[in-house]
């Protein structure tokens, strides 16, 4: 396994040119995500209307894995229903943790995130965006999450 976390061209592409890297002032949900161990601080705006994610964006600073994962997430959830987004969270979470099945499933571009599975110290970086998504969907009153606290 030679640096799989980075060698996926998709990861580096999204790190260099993050998609939806902007704030959404009218969004219904805002979650500030903090991963103090690595120093990732990202703010996510997720606009949920009529049970559907109308738009998503993020801002802030983070490592390649945090940025790429946030970019991929904001891209992937556009237009999903809340139920679909919940299900996607679970599948991506399983991809990054647990058995390390590697890429090759049916998650499309998100399969690139499978590389972090072999880096226990880095999983928090890649999962920051997804934990923020879960918080936005499940606990809209929460404004902040930290990888060092149980959500």
């Amino acid at each position: 396994m030679e640096l799989e976390a980075f060698h996926q061209e998709i990861i580096l592409d999204h790190k260099r040119r993050p998609r939806h890297f902007r704030s959404l002032p009218g969004a219904t949900r805002r979650v500030e995500g903090n991963n103090p161990l690595c120093g990732d601080r990202l703010t996510f705006d997720i606009d949920v209307r009529d049970g559907r994610i109308a738009a998503a964006g993020f801002q802030g600073e983070g490592c390649a894995l945090a940025m790429a994962s946030a970019s991929l997430m904001t891209e992937a959830i556009q237009g999903l229903t809340v139920a679909e987004a919940r299900s996607l969270f679970t599948r991506v979470h399983d991809l990054m943790t647990g058995e390390c099945r590697g890429p090759g499933g049916d998650l499309g571009k998100l399969e690139a995130l499978s590389g972090v599975c072999g880096y226990p110290a880095r999983i928090k970086c890649a999962s920051l965006a997804w934990q923020a998504l879960r918080t936005a969907l499940e606990a809209p009153e929460k404004r902040e999450i930290s990888t060092e606290l149980e959500p």
């Binding site: 030679e2 640096l3 980075f6 690595c38 120093g39 490592c63 390649a64 110290a121 880095r122 970086c125």
Partner: protein, 416 residues
């Protein structure tokens, strides 16, 4: 016949190859590359002499100390108290009564906060610095919350040094204790602690020095430093984890209530009351980490065998070489540029996050620390999410520094 003037024989330079053979863990590959262990400020590796001493203790001498009359108990007690005496000599404490074994520097600070801290009242002040490790912030913060005292902070500069311009204002009639770091774990800065001790003592305020990063790198003499407390950890100075030391001036320790209570720290116990044991046992409740103390004693022997002066000289060479080598890396800035430093090189590289660097360096067999180094206030002051830190020990080589530089170039290729 006149005698020639006495000259101390010059000790030859260190044989680094031989020294590296003393550290079994260094003889391995990581991700197919020889391990370059550059994370010594987090914890140092252990020489075979330390590993053997711990192992021998359990194989041959293990018993509880200070209690039974049998032979093994005598041997275990002698080994434990022998280690205390080695530590006393190592830091030049006046008496072994001033050497309290703890789990580490962190517990030593907590001991002082819990025990000495009982005399604090609302309106009192504790003075720390902006360079502190969390271990020298949080116990005082908690103490202030309990007592209504106030935590004051000596500011830092952009070069990772203490800003002592207003020291005389910060140390005032409300100050009850000054607790500062001797050598910064983030930047390697060797702080002018003598000056702080002098200013505090002018007002008869005791001073605690956090020496966790000092004892591995240069001789420490608590009497010439003049401090009232000095704390350090065994595992950062080539000893085992889970053992550390609180040095406390005897007259001050005598005035302090117990920290934890239980066996070994008592003289007599009845249900009417308890008479506490004498120093240092009064602060060592329960069966201590005997094997850890024995291992720390062996680490002291090892360090003295190699020679702290030679270790310091060797590490200064590595620091000078490493500083120059890193400065040649495009986009790299060294964070912490004090003129007096231990061999710690914290740095940031443009467009490269420390976390990503750490993973890529690891794949080149180069172990460094990335992140906030348990010093979030210092990182916040500098406006950095973290740094990458290479912390060198005397067993590191110039080639390992070169490999760090090469690995950084590779990281640039991957992430660029």
């Amino acid at each position: 016949m006149t005698a020639a003037p006495e000259r101390r024989p010059e000790r030859p330079a260190l044989d680094i190859e031989a020294i590296r053979r003393d550290f079994p863990i260094l003889q391995q590959q990581v991700h197919g590359q020889p391990l370059a262990y550059l994370d010594n400020a987090a914890t140092s590796q252990k020489p075979a002499a330390v590993i053997e001493a711990v192992s021998r203790y359990y194989r041959e001498d293990n018993a509880n100390i200070h209690r039974a009359v049998h032979t093994l108990a005598d041997r275990a007690t002698a080994a434990y108290e022998g280690a205390r005496e080695k530590v006393r000599r190592f830091i030049n404490a006046g008496s072994s009564r001033e050497v309290v074994f703890t789990r580490g520097a962190t517990e030593a600070i907590n001991l002082v906060a819990a025990s000495f801290g009982q005399r604090l009242r609302e309106g009192d002040e504790i003075l720390v610095s902006h360079l502190e490790h969390h271990a020298n912030i949080v116990p005082w913060q908690q103490l202030c919350e309990r007592t209504g005292a106030t935590l004051r902070v000596i500011p830092m500069t952009a070069t990772g040094e203490l800003d002592l311009a207003d020291l005389d204002g910060l140390i005032n009639e409300r100050t009850r204790l000054v607790s500062v770091v001797h050598v910064s774990n983030v930047f390697g800065t060797i702080n002018p602690v003598e000056r702080i001790v002098e200013a505090a003592h002018a007002r008869e305020i005791p001073v605690l020095l956090d020496g966790a990063q000092a004892t591995p790198h240069a001789p420490v003499d608590v009497q010439s430093l003049g401090c009232d407390f000095y704390v350090f950890s065994g595992h950062k100075m080539y000893g085992p984890t889970g053992i550390g030391v609180l040095y406390g001036r005897e007259a001050l320790l005598e005035t302090m209530p117990p920290y934890q209570t239980g066996g070994d720290m008592i003289r007599t116990v009845s249900f009417e009351g308890t008479e506490f044991n004498e120093l240092p046992f009064r602060f060592e409740a329960g069966t201590p980490n005997i094997a850890g103390a024995v291992g720390l004693g062996a680490a002291v022997d090892y360090l003295e065998g190699v020679g702290l002066e030679r270790i310091a000289a060797r590490e200064q060479e590595l620091l000078a070489y490493g500083t120059q080598a890193l400065e040649s890396v495009e986009g790299l800035s060294i964070v912490g540029t004090a003129p007096r430093k231990a061999a710690v090189l914290s740095f940031v590289v443009e467009d490269m996050h420390p976390g990503d660097m750490g993973t890529i360096l690891d794949h080149q067999g180069v172990a460094v620390r990335t992140g906030h180094h348990c010093a979030m206030p210092a990182m916040q002051f500098l406006g950095l999410p973290g740094t990458t830190r290479a912390s060198l020990a005397f067993y590191n080589t110039f080639e390992e520094v070169d490999r760090l530089v090469k690995a950084l170039a590779f990281a640039r290729e991957v992430l660029g």
